[in-house]
């Protein structure tokens, strides 16, 4: 009789996923070859806005090894790409064809496709395609796009304004009116969230196999279930004939939370040619045409009293949709709408957002999706308030944050934060950081006029994740729900299959889910296998994004496990010839109370159920169970990040001296995985502050079109990250966990920028636009206009 020695939950288990990943046996989509498979190459528009006046693929069709070539008009079965989030009733939702027919609206938009025996022949044949374009006026600047007389991205819409969305605490009844807020001090700032590119390391790849009257779609996607549903809904293909499989997926960060033109084109083409077809993008194609992130102008007005208590917050956003709407494009800023008030007790709050079309690649979810933008704005203006009032920036936060004993707390945005302990996280972070010593060093360098100045930046954040209560999504007009589904099957030999509706792409679900179920069912960690990503295996799911898989899927998993135990209990009682009430579940088995050696484990019960020779009446021969959990609330992790930078005022170079973070993600299942998520999230947040920016030139060409220009940081560009935790469990579900996937990114960017501004504040610097390139920092430090610095990509 096996008993499990110690709980799995909380153990730093090494990952089950690793072995195939470290030996080169990973199952990437691009590795897959099928008999008869053909390869696609896509011709993309070189113009940001143009009418296609003539397109002729006939010469391409006769190139060596070419089987077929199609224009958008040829693909009459291509369907459309849906936006799942019409944020307002009057939102402009333009028709979005996977392959353009009459008009192109951003550089990189597909206009033709070649199908060939091998990829090189397909790419070569693109050169034989003849296209004539009539260029149309291009609009790239958001504010210009909203002016009357601006060129229109979608002429039929009559406007570039996609939507306007407002939340007002006075109107909602959750607070006062910002207009009436006491304003002894007013801080007004404009911040620009520069356009970023998710830049997952695995380029996107899709294979569609149309054989046998069914369509099997292999895709490097975060959302196989949603892709399946929308392929059916938008192409008229019966849903039960479509199977979508996400094999191993190499990173997503929201960038693979998408229904892509390439998937839809491959789907249409495979039907036309009747053979499997594969499309794998190059990195240049990926940077150009996979969706981008952020790209928002923020106008922030914060009012406060002289003692530092905040009285009101007014946020006005202009958000760049790009040329089309992706699956959640218009909703991304709204996910941040409820987070500008952050950890603070702000009594009046108003948020307005205007979405606008431009001739650029569409924006959509990217790690944090709305919440990094919100955290950046509030954490920057809190530092500005501190500077204005000559208060320590930590003290200003302390005077405004929700105190530990005040939870659960209903915010001015109408959300109920279940739990948190900002004091504990901050104290721990300050101690690890050596705050007082660094302030002393800063003072010394200032006094000495040292050309290398020291700056300290803080970011205290919370975020709303664990997407999401379905009713709330409905109220926000999002098209789908936020539940998650898990099935558990106990095999006759006692091994366990966990069928999870989540779709991991690096998060270690195989390992963490095994830990949870091992504890729940008293089976060894090694005896659990986790299945996911295949809609024929994991039939029901809402996939992985928004830091939801553990906070929502984990609860479904525990509920399913409890149902397995309930079924097992009745059988155990029968086998042990006692009543179910005489049994307790302890140390991995059902044990007779007072006689613990009289016991049955789940594996023993599973074998008995399989044989079904002696089951109690009314009990079916199955222990398997399923649960679908719809969360009652969002998940609210929080933390305190501290960053010390050295700023060389003679070169503009910024070096991060120290980066410390203390994050509270509630109960921790696997501390290694949690810490890894924080490290990776912080790296992306630092990268937004210092390195990354997607830049278009005045014609709408993407200047940062390769990794030579779009600066992903390497190990040499990032500091060592000191990460620690506090643990304040969630109270809205029994598991106590909170989401972690996006928290690091949400926190880090303002910590870094606050630090650089802090270093240069004695020189009169109050802001530097991101990314803080050496040129921009140097100009700011030397009395120039930081905003005059060149864009990171080098274009003026």
């Amino acid at each position: 009789m096996t008993t499990v020695a110690e709980p799995e939950i909380g153990r730093a288990r090494r990952r089950k996923e690793d072995h195939r990943l470290i030996t080169g046996q990973t199952r990437w989509t691009d590795n897959i070859t099928l008999p008869g498979m053909l390869h696609l190459a896509i011709l993309r528009s070189p113009y940001a806005h143009a009418r296609i006046t003539r397109i002729d693929v006939s010469a391409a069709r006769t190139q060596p090894n070419v089987v077929a070539a199609f224009t958008g008009a040829d693909l009459d079965n291509q369907g459309t790409l849906a936006c799942a989030w019409p944020v307002t009733e009057d939102m402009v939702a333009p028709t979005y064809l996977p392959m353009a027919v009459d008009e192109v609206r951003h550089v990189g938009e597909p206009v033709a496709v070649v199908v060939a025996r091998d990829k090189a022949s397909a790419v070569d044949a693109l050169e034989a395609i003849e296209v004539e374009y009539e260029p149309l006026p291009v609009v790239l600047d958001m504010e210009a796009a909203l002016q009357p007389g601006s060129p229109l991205v979608h002429a039929s819409a009559g406007t570039n304004k996609c939507y306007h969305w407002v939340f007002d605490s006075a109107e909602a009844g959750t607070g006062g009116s910002v207009a009436d807020a006491e304003a002894e001090v007013t801080i007004r700032r404009r911040y620009v969230q520069q356009r970023l590119i998710p830049a997952f390391m695995e380029p996107r790849s899709v294979i569609v196999d149309p054989s046998g009257g069914e369509w099997t779609v292999y895709s490097a996607t975060q959302i196989p279930h949603i892709v399946r549903f929308l392929l059916a809904a938008t192409t008229g293909t019966p849903e039960h004939k479509i199977r979508v499989i996400a094999p191993d997926v190499g990173g997503g960060f929201g960038g693979k939370l998408a229904v892509t033109p390439e998937e839809w084109i491959a789907f249409a083409v495979s039907t036309k040619v009747g053979r499997p077809v594969k499309y794998t993008e190059t990195r240049s194609e990926s940077l150009l045409s996979a969706h981008h992130g952020r790209d928002v102008i923020q106008d922030i007005t914060l009012t406060a009293r002289r003692d530092g208590t905040v009285t009101g917050l007014h946020v006005k956003l202009i958000a760049n949709m790009g040329a089309y709407l992706g699956i959640v494009t218009p909703g991304v800023p709204l996910l941040g709408a409820f987070m500008y008030n952050a950890i603070y007790k702000i009594p009046a709050y108003r948020f307005e957002c205007t979405g606008v079309f431009t001739n650029t690649a569409k924006t959509d979810a990217y790690r944090g999706a709305g919440r990094p933008e919100a955290t950046y704005a509030i954490e920057r203006v809190m530092d500005e308030l501190a500077a204005e009032l000559n208060l320590d920036p930590i003290e200003v936060r302390r005077r405004n944050w929700i105190r530990h004993e005040e939870f659960p707390y209903t915010t001015v945005a109408g959300l109920v934060y279940d739990s948190g302990n900002y004091e504990a996280a901050t104290e721990k972070a300050l101690a690890l950081f050596g705050y007082n010593e660094l302030r002393a060093e800063q003072a010394a360098r200032r006094a000495a006029g040292d050309p290398v100045q020291l700056g300290i930046g803080i970011s205290t954040y919370t975020e709303m994740c664990g997407l999401a209560p379905s009713r709330t999504l409905g109220a926000l007009r999002y098209g789908a729900g936020g539940w998650e589904s898990v099935s558990i099957r106990v095999l006759p030999t006692g091994k366990v299959e966990v069928i999870s509706g989540s779709t991991p792409h690096g998060q270690g679900h195989d390992t963490a889910w095994s830990q949870i179920v091992a504890d729940q069912l008293g089976v060894p960690f090694e005896d659990v296998t986790v299945l996911h990503g295949d809609t024929r295996v994991a039939v029901k799911g809402m996939d992985t994004y928004g830091s939801r898989s553990l906070a929502v899927g984990g609860v479904a998993m525990v509920q399913a496990a409890e149902r397995v135990r309930e079924k097992a209990r009745r059988v155990a009682a029968h086998l042990l010839e006692c009543s179910a009430d005489d049994l307790e579940w302890r140390d991995g088995a059902f044990r007779v109370k007072g006689n613990p050696d009289q016991a049955k484990t789940i594996p023993e019960i599973a074998l008995a159920v399989f044989a079904a020779h002696d089951l109690p009446d009314g009990v079916e021969p199955s222990l398997d169970a399923e649960a679908t959990y719809d969360p009652s609330a969002f998940s609210y992790p929080h933390g305190t990040h501290l960053c010390a930078v050295e700023v060389d005022t003679e070169t503009g170079r910024v070096t991060i001296r120290k980066y410390v973070c203390v994050d509270d993600v509630g109960k921790v299942i696997n501390p290694l995985i949690v810490e890894g998520q924080i490290h990776g999230g912080v790296a992306q947040g630092i990268a937004q502050a210092l390195y990354e920016e997607a830049v278009y030139d005045e014609s709408g060409n993407l200047v940062t079109g390769s990794f030579a220009e779009y600066l992903l940081p390497s190990a040499a560009d990032l500091p060592s990250i000191v990460a620690d935790r506090t643990e304040t469990p969630a109270t809205t579900h029994p598991l106590g966990v909170k989401g972690v996937g996006e928290a690091g990114t949400i926190a880090a960017t303002p910590a870094v920028v606050n630090a650089v501004v802090d270093a240069l504040r004695p020189r009169g610097v109050t802001d530097i636009p991101m990314p803080l390139t050496p040129e921009r920092v140097w100009r700011a430090a030397n009395g120039g206009d930081a905003g005059a610095g060149q864009n990171a990509g080098g274009a003026a």
């Binding site: 690793d18 990437w28 695995e202 191993d248 990195r283 270690g508 995985i673 990776g680 390497s714 000191v722």
Partner: protein
Amino acid sequence: MARVNLVVDGTRYVDEVPPRLLLVQYLREHLGKVGTVIGCDTGNCGACTVLYAAPDGRAQAVKSCSMLAVQADGGEVTTVEGLAAADGTLHPVQRAFHEHHALQCGFCTPGMIVAAVDLLRENPNPTPEEIREGLSGNLCRCTGYENIVRAVTAAAAATNGTAAAAATNGTAAAANGSGAAAPSAPSQAAPVEPAPTTEVAA
């Protein structure tokens, strides 16, 4: 077409290939060695890194996207698939990556591991700064590199047989900071499968 005759992961291959075929494409498409991957098209990301020894030279890390298959004629290539021993025993760098959670999605991992193997051959006892510089040609989007640096430090210690090296190498311990778990040197007799009961105090 051009003829190539080369050894890859211990096996000799003879092929006719288009002159323009990249070494990484040859590995993936002609040899089925899909363990080596393509992450970019400008030689920046390093995901395609393999070890290459020219006929008269010693093995060095190369980005196989920046080399033609024909250039490898007569040489010897080692990919991530050729690092473990014939009986499946993992290379110390592979083992260290697993032990220290130095991978998440795993896409950059083959190139990162091979680059780290090469780094340690040139510099058997690198500081964290030297590791970061030495791996600056390999991009990772998931890990933030923190655990990769820990893993390479630990692999160095294991390879040098000095279990205390990681602790006594002052810069390594200091750079990791007080709040982070210190890496423990993996045992010399680590099994092929991940050790299920090993854990690090968080």
